[in-house]
């Protein structure tokens, strides 16, 4: 239990729990308790997952299966209807399960659209959490921002506003912002979607570096199944509202399950052609 980064036990989520942010609403015991347990209305029913420290895991699955929602559950933005979540072996009861509480445990999330603060320049966007949490002196923070910008190649755009950047650049800034926080568990929502091939190829070594040097646990939600192969990590799928066992890329490529037939057909035919 000590070497776990994240553990999900029997997570259920119904559709009506999805909507809205709840920051203005205080959460109390039993506040959102529901009486109906109709599996028809559930988006995720009974997901179990254990991620070890330093492990990298890709979560795949068809569009609309609830992959991003599962990531939002992990980040504490959506509270599951049922089930328990453990961060680094520590149980957080549902009435305290908010994004702020999760973020205290150094969990970072990269949004699909970047979600940069639109009235701040790129540099201030990256500096915002560092300055808020007073992580070091101004000189140290400045150095850290520059390093993050160099890593993601957004140094030239430091003085621009997010609406002046393209979608791919916004995503790179968002990754830099998460990286600068030194997260122990990093959740990434479609990191390669919207990036060109050049930047995608640059992103993968960065993720590789993060897990090698900083021992960051990384969970990636992606359509890009080749990424799992290039990162040499396990792959699990959200299928029929539950999570499958994490297996290697080659297992899924060669197995004869429904998922493999659906999602790996193109990759298989490519392989056969080669």
């Amino acid at each position: 239990m000590l070497d776990e980064a994240l553990r999900l036990e029997d997570i259920h989520l119904s559709y009506k729990d999805l909507a809205g942010t709840m920051f203005s609403r205080p959460r109390a015991l039993d506040f959102f308790s529901k009486d109906d347990d109709d599996p028809q209305n559930e988006l995720v029913s009974g997901a179990n997952l254990i991620v070890k420290k330093g492990e990298t895991l890709c979560i795949g699955g068809g569009s609309g299966q609830g992959k991003s929602t599962l990531l939002r559950i992990m980040a504490g933005l959506v509270r599951p209807s049922k089930g328990s979540i453990y961060y680094f072996g520590e149980y957080i009861p549902p009435e305290r399960l908010t994004a702020l509480e999760v973020a205290k445990r150094q969990v970072g999330l990269v949004f699909q659209n970047g979600a940069l603060i639109s009235n701040m320049r790129v540099r201030d966007n990256i500096a915002l959490p560092l300055r808020y949490h007073k992580m070091g002196s101004p000189a140290e923070i400045e150095e850290k921002i520059n390093m993050a910008m160099d890593l993601m190649r957004v140094r030239d755009e430091a003085g621009l506003f997010p609406h002046q950047l393209s979608a791919g650049m916004q995503k790179r800034v968002a990754i830099a912002r998460s990286w600068a926080m030194d997260p122990k568990l990093l959740l990434m929502d479609e990191p390669t979607a919207g990036l060109d091939n050049y930047n995608r190829r640059n992103l993968l070594p960065l993720i590789d570096n993060m897990r090698m040097l900083f021992k960051t646990t990384i969970i990636i939600v992606t359509h890009d199944l080749m990424m799992a192969k290039e990162l040499n990590c396990n792959l699990c799928f959200l299928h029929h509202k539950t999570l499958t066992e994490p297996r290697s890329f080659n297992y899924w490529l060669n197995s004869d399950t429904e998922i493999s037939r659906d999602l790996f057909r193109d990759l298989r035919s490519q392989k056969n052609n080669m």
Binding site: P26, T98, A103, V107, S118
Partner: protein, 292 residues
Amino acid sequence: MPTNKQVKGQNLSLPGKLFHSLGLAILKRPMGQLLALFFRAIASLFSKNRSFKTDSKNIIMQTFFTGVEIFPVLFVVATLFGTVAIIEVVTMMGKMGFGNNIGDLIVIVIIRELGPILTAFLIAGRSGSSLTTYIGTMVINSEVDALATMGVDPIRFLVMPGLIGGCIAMFFMNIIFSTCAIVFGFLVTKGAIFVTGNMLNIQLTWDFLATEIIGAITLTDFIFIIIKPIVFGMIITTNACYQALNIQKDVRQVPKATSRSVIKSFLYVVIADVILSIFYFVDYMNSINSLI
């Protein structure tokens, strides 16, 4: 490891259960959530992430935004409203033979009641609605979510500066409104008298008006000049932020939330004004006793 039963709070004692259900009954209502948001915003002033430099900068920005930029409109409204009030009071009271009650009426109409209320309406219509749109758009673009996942408390980062800045701006704007209404209202009245050749037959000097008003102001008025705008400012900004943070993920909800924010601010401000006026009535009854 806690079991599910302990987590769900089933094994509370009887007083605990009563307290729990009372809390739930309060928090399930919008008014309870509004109060909770207000107290959380106040409590976030003392969180360990406080930094005087950034906070004061944010608060000054908000005060500037809420207060200073509304000044031209507020000045015009106050001057015209003061002119109308002074002319009507002076002519009507003079006709009815209550010439020595002019100061009382002007204090009641401008300083006590309509000054704070009109300032509150102007600030709710302009700054409250723009605060709702600003935070609401951030909610839609999941920027608020991003703030929370970075560990930046949205209540501290967004709501608190608005709340404090709104109260400060409301306080100063109320004083400016009353002053403008009386001083510039008097000047415009004089101008009107000059232009129309004193058609209405008004005999008005600054000495007379100032002595009357100063004689009519009581200590209660001074206390309420401070309390009323601060209470109104709290209501407007908390309500604006509450409506914005409760937007579901739908762009069409932003205009709805904005109109809700303005209308409910009006409603709550008037209700609060009535509740605060009870103190005036108590004061008035006491003075009647002493008169008799």
